[in-house]
Amino acid sequence: MLIYLLKRLAQSAITVLFVVAIIFVVIRLIGDPTHLLLPPEATEADRVVLRHQMGLDRPVLVQFGAYLAQLARGDFGISYRFSLPAGQVALHALPPTLMLASAALVLALGIGIPLGVAAAIWPGSVVDQFGQIFAVLGQAAPPFFFSLLFVKLFSLHWAWLPTGGYGTPAHLVLPALALGWFAAAGVARLTRSSMTDVLGAEFVKFARIKGLAEQEVILRHALRNALLPVVTYVTLQFGLLIGGAVSVEVVFAWPGIGQLLYDSINNLDYTVVQAAVTLTAAIFVLINLLVDVAYALIDPRIQHG
């Protein structure tokens, strides 16, 4: 097991390194930040001086080498825009994103799995119909469309929840719902089909032969097997939720990494973009690894010999 872990850690490190390299190169193609850091009236000479001060006139490879050395020391550089350590700015935006992604995931699992299981147990019933509508609707429109809808409904029309911002749990409800519904749709559909497959399995029939009560058969035997693919799916979703929540964060003014990236890219704040992307990539890869290990615990057939 240990060898496998080390191997996977190495692979993860390579993946993160690749991601950082890609972002490092591509963002420098967007444009020269000195245009924003100096007023329009600045002459080209001023910009050349500033570029040199910032070390941006060196070849990309040299810059990347220096950046990696910096990274090794845990120093992500100074944000051009905030004059604050870029790592600190990115880390500051992490808790809201993790909170939103986890809340959305809890919703997705909390709604998706029961709906999926019910739809599988009573195919064609009202629950199944409602479940499928819920799933199809969830993925039929972009999350920002739901966000705008929810704000109009729950914040303005019925004024139950705040329209946006961060702080109290009440602020978390609508963004998590908008993001969660999109993820729940996927979980519901996957759970339904996976559960339908498992219910047709011989060992479920054998469990009934043993005289177990129906809910025991469903929960102890069928569900545990049906959830295996859901675990894999959820890890992919969690990665998407972190990065993909940008549009929801923008509508709800949620200070997450998505919106930070959106603003930083627009303001050519290289160091913060690099720090934020490194962080999201690292988190995604870490979660992927944790789930692999968890997968082996749940499913004995997977040995990492």
Binding site: T43, F82, L153, V251, A253, D263
Partner: protein, 514 residues
């Protein structure tokens, strides 16, 4: 039969959307978002750097006037008024500006304000290590600054500049010398800014909020509201929803189309004031081979557009007609006597034929995504009706600035001018004078007028001089002025506050709850 999944989905979507589109709830007027001691302001974007000498003016406009002071400042209409300086004299040759400083002023950290701080502040801007965005305005202008005694400073210029006092008021933010020099790095000041303004810095949560609180040792009249909280809401519709739901007290940059719905809401007060920025189409007319080099073509492009119709539909009437690149809201230098080119497509076609383009020509126009897209599409459509087939190239605002500042945004480009110093020279110098950063225009007579006016400091003479320049630019079709957009704010009806005319800067020195 159980209705099929598909029909239920349609039903669900219809109910959801119809419910959501009924009239928004009435805003909870008269109730502050937090309490009577706090003002919550919703900004569209976060001021990145809190060092007013380093932050670009669009960022510093959001907070600087509350936390810092300048020697002279602008009142609500843009007229200069003494702040940290009591008086200002200019020598006969216009090369020496001397200021007498106010006494008994202290910084937020208790340090006394003296002439040494003014000298240090200007020199800090000039020092490249600070990476100050104001440096280019002073670097070739100021030769030296001395502080003969604690309450007077004398600035020596390399050549006379009629707008120097405006530049001091717009750019020279005063920072404490002892405190700033003791900081570990130039960037450190941004993390804990200290000024002499009525509000002092409390906390900046990146991405979430910026908090200021009243500075009890303020030299002037203490503001009524104790705390100010800035919140950052990028999505325009979300900003409007926030004030409707009573979560914020004041919202900036309200879209024109939202003003109509907000007006029907008696819980809110909507303020529309002239924005001071000329929305116009910049013309690259230097290149002789380009049709735009021909005056008739430029005039034709002006006549072809029905500006009033655009103002009424796209800007919902919240904009005023524009005759030149200096809007009427300027305190001086605008030319109210000019009449805008009327909508006359017939004359436009005739001018085009006269210029040798009976069937029109093909061109393209850059359109920064930050403007109301309808305006771009309307102008292109109007030009299309007289045979000028222009491709609308929508571009991100940051990317646009990069090419617009280096003469790459030709042949036509929608653009605007913010002006932190309320003197037309910033705009005229920048976009009409031969060497302007945004100028691809060269008119010798007008150039002579510009060179002369730069050293004139008397207001009447400057005003007359600029009027003449503007008359000639309109007559020569230097640009295609469209409209002066209003800046729209929405605030809780219980809040007593007036926005700055012709400018983006926010000052809450006079703000109070009714």
């Amino acid at each position: 039969m159980i209705p099929s999944r598909f029909r239920l989905a349609l039903l669900g979507a219809a109910i959801l959307s119809s419910l959501s589109l009924t009239a928004p709830a009435q805003a909870i007027g008269g109730k502050p978002a937090v309490d009577k001691d706090t003002l919550v302001v919703a900004l569209s974007a976060e001021p990145g750097n809190l060092d007013p000498q380093v932050a670009p003016s669009v960022d510093s406009a959001k907070f600087a006037w509350n936390v810092f002071d300048t020697l002279y400042g602008f009142d609500r209409t843009g007229k200069l008024e003494p702040r940290l300086a009591l008086s200002h004299e200019v020598s006969a040759d216009g090369l020496t500006h001397s200021f007498r400083l106010r006494d008994g002023v202290t910084f937020h950290n208790g340090d006394p304000f003296t002439s040494a701080d003014v000298k240090y502040s200007l020199e800090r801007i000039l020092d490249p290590v600070t990476k100050s965005t104001r440096r280019p305005y002073f670097i070739n202008l100021v030769t030296s600054i001395d502080a003969p005694d604690a309450h007077s400073v004398v600035v020596h210029l390399s050549q006379p500049d009629g707008a120097f006092l405006n530049k001091v008021a717009g750019y020279l933010y005063i920072v404490p010398k002892a405190y700033t020099q003791a900081l570990p790095s130039p960037e450190a000041f941004a993390q804990a800014p200290i000024g002499t303004g009525p509000y002092k810095f409390v906390r900046h949560e990146v991405g979430r909020s910026l908090e200021l609180t009243r500075f009890d040792g303020f030299w002037g009249e203490r503001p009524a509201i104790r705390n100010i909280v800035f919140r950052f809401i990028a999505e325009p519709s979300s900003r409007v929803h926030a004030v409707l739901a009573g979560e914020v007290d004041l919202v900036t940059e309200v879209a024109a189309s939202d003003v109509d719905t907000l007006k029907t809401n008696h819980g809110l007060e909507v303020l529309s004031i002239p924005g001071g920025s000329p929305l116009h189409v910049r013309i690259y007319s230097k290149d002789p081979t380009s049709p735009l080099h021909n005056r008739d073509v430029r005039l034709a492009l002006n006549y072809a557009i029905d500006k009033d119709a655009i103002i009424k539909s796209v800007f919902r009437g919240l904009a005023s007609p524009l005759t030149s690149i200096i809007p009427s809201s300027y305190p001086y230098g605008a030319n109210p006597t000019l009449k805008p080119y009327p909508y006359d497509p017939q004359k436009a076609r005739q001018l085009l034929a006269q210029a040798g383009y009976p069937k029109g020509f093909e061109t393209s126009v850059y359109f920064p995504a930050v403007f109301a897209r309808g305006a771009g599409e309307a102008v292109v459509a109007y030009w299309g009706q007289i045979g000028v087939k222009a491709q609308l190239k929508v571009i991100d605002y940051v990317a646009f600035n990069r090419i617009n500042n280096v003469h790459q945004s030709g042949p036509l480009a929608f653009s605007e001018f913010g002006n932190a110093i309320y003197d037309p020279i910033h705009v005229i110098g920048g976009s009409v004078s031969r060497t302007g950063t945004w100028s691809d225009y060269d008119n010798p007579e007008i150039q002579a007028l510009i060179d002369r006016i730069e050293s004139v400091s008397d207001l009447e003479q400057r005003d007359a001089g600029f009027r003449e320049i503007l008359r000639r630019t309109q007559e020569d079709g230097q640009a295609i002025p469209l409209a002066e957009l209003a800046l729209n704010y929405a605030q809780d009806s219980a809040l007593q506050w007036q926005p700055q005319i012709g400018g983006w800067s926010l000052s809450f020195r006079q703000a109070a709850w009714k």
